[in-house]
Amino acid sequence: MPNKRRRSFLQLSGIAALAGCSSPPGAQGDEDKLPSALGRPISAYGERSQHETAKRVVPELKRPQIGSTRTPLAAIEGIITPSSLHFERHHAGVPDLNPETHTLLIHGLVERPLVFSVAELKRLPSASHIYFVECSGNSGGEWKAPGGPTAAAGFGLASCSEWTGVPLQLLLEEAGLKKEGKWLVAEGADACKMSRSLPIEKALDDCLVAYAQNGEAIRPEQGYPLRLVVPGYEGNVNVKWLRQIKVVDQPNQTKDETSKYTDLLADGSSRQFTFLMDAKSVITTPSGGQKLSGPGFQEIRGLAWSGRGVIERVEVSTDAGKTWQRAILQEPRLPKAFTRFRLPWTWDGQPAEIVARATDGTGYVQPTREELVEARGINSAYHYNGLKSWKIAADGSVKNG
C-alpha cells in the first residue's frame, strides 16, 4: 500500500478511545435524575442512536466508483456485521436496479435455458446461512510491510452476514445441467458487467443466489437485488447485482481472474483461481488507534475465520508470541463464518505486544508474515493472512506492532 494511502487511512480512522474508557463513569452528572422527559414517537424504519458514530473507512479516490470501503472491525461486536457497515468493493459504482424488472438468466450448457424474476426466485425453497465475505486484497498492504494502523485499515475488507436465497444447485438442476458443463461464468449488472468463472463442483456445493442479508433485502452496495454468495471463496467471486450465469466447459479468463485476483510469486509466475480464503484472525479490542485508559481489566476480543470450514482454536499472546493462551470461542462456531474470540486479561500498565493465532477445522495454523513471504515473496498482493500484532505503550496507546 502506498504511503499516501496509508496516511489517509490514519486520518480517516482517527484515534478512538476504547468505549467506556474515555471518561470516568458518572461524568455526565445526571445519574441521580429519574427519566422523565417524553421520548420521540414511533417510527417506520429504525435509526441508530445519535451518539453512535462507527463508519466505514472511506478513502479519498479520484474515481469513487472504483474502490473500497472498510468495515470498522474494532467497532462491531459478536459475529454479524451490520449491513450498513459491510465493506464495499466496486468496479464501476453501485447500480440502481429495480427488482420488478431485474432478471437472472441461466444458460449455456443446460437443457433448458431459464429466466427467473426476483419474485419467482423468492417462491423457491430458500436457505439461510451465516458466511463471511472477504476481499482477497484484504490486508494486502501487509505484504510489503506490516503497516495497517487500525483493524479496519489492515483487515476491514471482511464482513459477515446471514444470507438468504435459493441454493444455486437447485437453479442449475431446474435448468438441467449438461455433463460437459465444468465451469460457470457469473456476471453482474454493474456498468462494467463484472464477471468471474467458478468451478461447477463449488456451484453445486454450497453457493446461494441470495436476495436477503441480515433479515432484509440485500443492500444496494452488496448486490441488490441478487448476489451470488460463494462461501469461503474470495469476495470478488461473490458476484453482486447478479444478472446471468452461463454454464461453460472452461473458465472464461475474464479480466478479474487474469490481470487481477491472481497471485504473483517471487519467481515471476502467478497462481490463478486462488479462490479459498485461508484461516485468519485479528484482535479488534484493543487494536491500533485505540487507547487504554489505565491498567486493570480489559477483555481482549477479536475475530477469526477460515474459508476451509470452522475455527477450531484461537490462541492469544500478550508477550509478543513468547507464551500463548487459548481464547474462549463464541458458540456456535459456524463454517466459513466469523468466529468471535475473547480472553480475559488484566493489563499491568507495562508495554505489551498482543497477537492472535487461528487454527481451523482442517488443522491449518495461521502463518506468520515470515512464512508467507518465504513461500510467496512480497508481490502477491492478495491472500495475505499472516499474524497481526498490536503494541500497547505504557500510556495505553495501541499501535501497529
Partner: protein, 176 residues
C-alpha cells in the same frame, strides 16, 4: 410389448431429471443473444468485424488516452504497455503486454467495461482496432495485422505460460 414397457420406463427416468418447481420462463434465443456477450479464450463469442492498430489510433486518443496515457503508459489508470521482464523483480509492472495471458480477454473487457464512463460505446470494428493497437504498442503484433474473430484467439501473449494452479496450503503447517 417388452420394448414398449422399456421405452416407457426410460421416458419416466428422463422426466425425473426435468424441472421440479417449474418456475422461471424459458429463455428465448433472442434474450440469450442480447445478454450473452462473453468472449472465451478459444474465441467463442467474438463477433464479426475487424480492426488494425493503425485504425485504432484515432479512437484510442479520443477515448482511452485520457486515463491510460498516449502511449498506454497509464497516467491515471492501469498501464497497458511495458513491464516486460519485471514480474520476478522487486518492482513488477503488470500490464496487458507483460501479464495478461489471453488476447481474447482484452476484447471481452473493453467491450463490456470500457470506456469507463460509457461502456458499450465502441462497436465491434472499433473494439478490434483498439485491441490491435494495445497489442501493437506492446510489440506483439504488427501495425497492419488484422484482428478479427479468427486471428485474435491465435495471438500468443508473452505471459501465456506464466500462470500456475493454486497449490495452497503452502504455509500454516498442520497441527497434529
Amino acid at each position: 410389448m417388452a420394448k414398449w414397457l422399456l421405452g416407457a420406463l426410460f421416458l419416466t427416468a428422463v422426466s425425473a431429471q426435468g424441472p421440479k418447481y417449474k418456475l422461471g420462463r424459458p429463455a428465448t434465443p433472442q434474450q440469450i443473444q442480447t445478454t450473452d456477450q462473453f468472449v472465451s479464450p478459444d474465441g467463442k463469442g467474438l463477433p464479426a468485424g475487424k480492426g488494425t492498430a493503425a485504425a485504432g489510433r484515432d479512437i484510442y486518443s479520443r477515448r482511452c488516452a485520457r486515463c491510460h496515457g498516449a502511449q498506454g503508459q497509464g497516467d491515471e489508470e492501469a498501464p497497458l504497455v511495458g513491464g516486460k521482464g519485471t514480474l520476478h523483480s522487486p518492482k513488477p509492472l503488470k500490464t496487458v503486454g507483460s501479464y495478461w495471458p489471453y488476447a481474447t480477454t482484452i476484447y471481452d473487457y473493453i467491450h463490456r467495461a470500457m470506456p469507463f464512463d460509457n461502456p458499450g460505446l465502441l462497436d465491434a470494428n472499433q473494439t478490434y482496432s483498439v485491441v490491435a493497437l494495445i497489442l501493437h504498442m506492446n510489440g506483439i503484433i504488427g501495425e497492419t495485422d488484422e484482428m478479427n474473430a479468427q486471428t485474435l484467439p491465435k495471438v500468443k501473449m508473452p505471459n501465456r505460460d506464466g500462470f500456475v494452479r493454486d497449490t495452497r496450503p503452502d504455509t500454516g503447517k498442520k497441527r497434529k
